[in-house]
């Protein structure tokens, strides 16, 4: 990575819960995140509206050239 990987604190709200995943809206319209259950640590039974927090950094683009493998996977999905 080119930029410093210093993490910063973010907060969000659980907006959707399924058996396998939770969706999170970041506060201040800073984005949306859907993660598998296993990536969520909780001391409490899950409910919509619960606040969550995490540390993360900025997302950085690795290369100017799109990866053909993922393009073909995406095309396949569109055909379906």
């Amino acid at each position: 990575m080119k930029y410093i990987d210093q993490v910063r604190y973010l907060e969000g709200i659980i907006v959707e819960i399924s058996d396998g995943a939770v969706s999170i809206d970041f506060k201040g319209r800073m984005g949306f995140l859907k993660i598998p259950m296993r990536m969520l640590i909780t001391d409490y039974p899950l409910e919509i509206g619960q606040e969550v927090c995490l540390n993360m950094s900025y997302v950085e683009v690795v290369s100017p050239i799109p990866n053909g493998k993922y393009i073909s996977n995406l095309d396949k999905k569109e055909v379906e």
């Binding site: 058996d19 396998g20 259950m37 640590i41």
Partner: protein, 659 residues
Amino acid sequence: MSLTIEQVEKFKKEVAVLCCRLKEGSIIDESHLEDPTILPELVDSGLLTIPKNCARIGQVIGAKLLKTLDALTPISSDVVEGIKEMDLSNEGITEDEIFDLDQKAVLKYNMKFGDVIKASDLENPMNFEKMEDSLLIKLSEKVLTRGEVIGKKLNKDTVALTPILPEMIEGYKATEKLETTPMDTNNGSILKIKIAEGKGIDIEIPMGGYIGHASTIINKEKMAEKPVEIPPKEIRRLTKKYFEIHNVIFGKETKIEGKTLYIRENIGEDALKVDKLVKEIKVDIIGPDRYKEYSETIMDVQPIATKEEGDKLGTGTTRVLDGVIMIVTGTDENGVQIGEFGSSEGILEENVMWGRPGAPDKGEILIKTEVVIKEHTNMERPGPLAAHKATDFITSEIREALKKLDEKLVSREEEFIQLRRPGKKKIVIVKEIMGQGAMHDNLILPIEPVGVIGGKPNVDLGNLPIVLSPLEILDGSIHALTCIGPASKECSRHYFREPLIIEALKDEEIDLCGVILVGSPQINSEKFYVSERVGMTVEAMDVDGAVVTTEGFGNNHIDFASHIEQIGMRDISVVGASFCAVQGALVVGNKYMTNMIDLNKTEEGIENEVLACNTLTGEDGLRILAMLKAIMNGEEVLAPERKWNPEVKENNLRLIGKN
């Protein structure tokens, strides 16, 4: 954070840094010193610079500070009075530096039971003359030489300046003559034999008649460390009979003729009916010539196997098709992959780590189902299960054909014998399986190997620990609905060929008593609930050692750490194995997590899209068992480097290879 007295002893050779402001004239004690384990972090971030003349913790305790210093200031030797002399020369001593091997061995430090004697633990022979003069030591003929004791283990706590005698060393082979007093015969009726010391002594005396001049034969060879060998006891055995398949084609009915498997053309239509969530099912036969084609994400890889009449999982005979396997793939009606996160869709050839225990082997024919389930059910519990049920409908029909095959067609057999080895170190394998819900679930103990019917989901069983025999695991007692990460997930076939269990069964130095399966629930309180039960189960087993393995990474590392704690706090040696590296680094830890095996196989240390890339392999199994045996024998595992370094694994493998 300040140190405790115990830590001072442990860290005595580490650099001394103040953890709080200390005034001139104060006498330094453990409460003033910073924990040295956090210092590298501070040095890296530029908050701290350690000067060359920085004193060590062992040197400054009890010394007087000559000037007031702030917190987080290293104590250099010029700002303290009364610094203790400390020999730092033995840091990093290597085997090449061991000298005077024929000189007598005298301990320099207090040592404990089980400690391995190193050259640095012994007093320099050049001091012996002075010490003998001042009556500190007495070197008799019996005292062992340095060459004889280095690398040996003490069998009792021993204080400094003790010359080492043979009886202090574990399993020392007596080379000198044992002192046995001559036999005494009293009136020809009582035979008295007095032996001063020794064990495992064979005495043969002709019975009957006059004993007065009977001869005594002491077998010196057997003097040392040979306890009576109790032969291993067979508990059960499992035979896998393989039937070779070279060709899979669609036909009018499902049957096997010679080496050809026919699959009923319209089987998909009936498979649809098993669950109302299944909307469409496509069955495809993929031979090696089609490995280059696109495939939906692989949910599971399953063997096609069936039990012979009357046999239960884990015992008797299992018939297995060789050269063909089942692959479960699927999407929901909107085209969203069932394993939505980190899915492995793409060109099959590139997205499979061929030959891993849980993956297909190169050259195998794949019967691939593409199950389409109701929209939005891909992340709900019934969705993935429905895809598995529909696939198993097809496998079941093949199983029926396999049951009818003539015994003469068996191409090879594999025999697994579960032996208990009394007298060997008893170990248990704890396998943490996913239990957070949706596809994070496993059907335990179905009737057929990797079947569905009869299997109980571990989520419904409360994720509590369940004890299985190693052979039950190898016979397909886990139908894995498999978690999300393709690279680290353990497919059903992984358990059918579980490499750690196979290695542990083969290992004659250990006594594998069973396998504990424990689910990983979502909420922390539930995690600790099941973890405490793991502790109690392992306690009741009275084992010497345990291995805890987990699948992938995420919140399952919280219970993984807790299982290790629960076992470790019961004074049982424990090794943990998980994918960690960079991306899966542990989120929690405890003082028992010192013996860890990383299962990563990628160069970057991340979870990639290649199926089974980061799963446990036979080589990992050997590393795990080597580490467990080492710690059960009292050896210490070195602390890891601060950042993940793939070299550690390579070095360990080299060490195992040497032994």
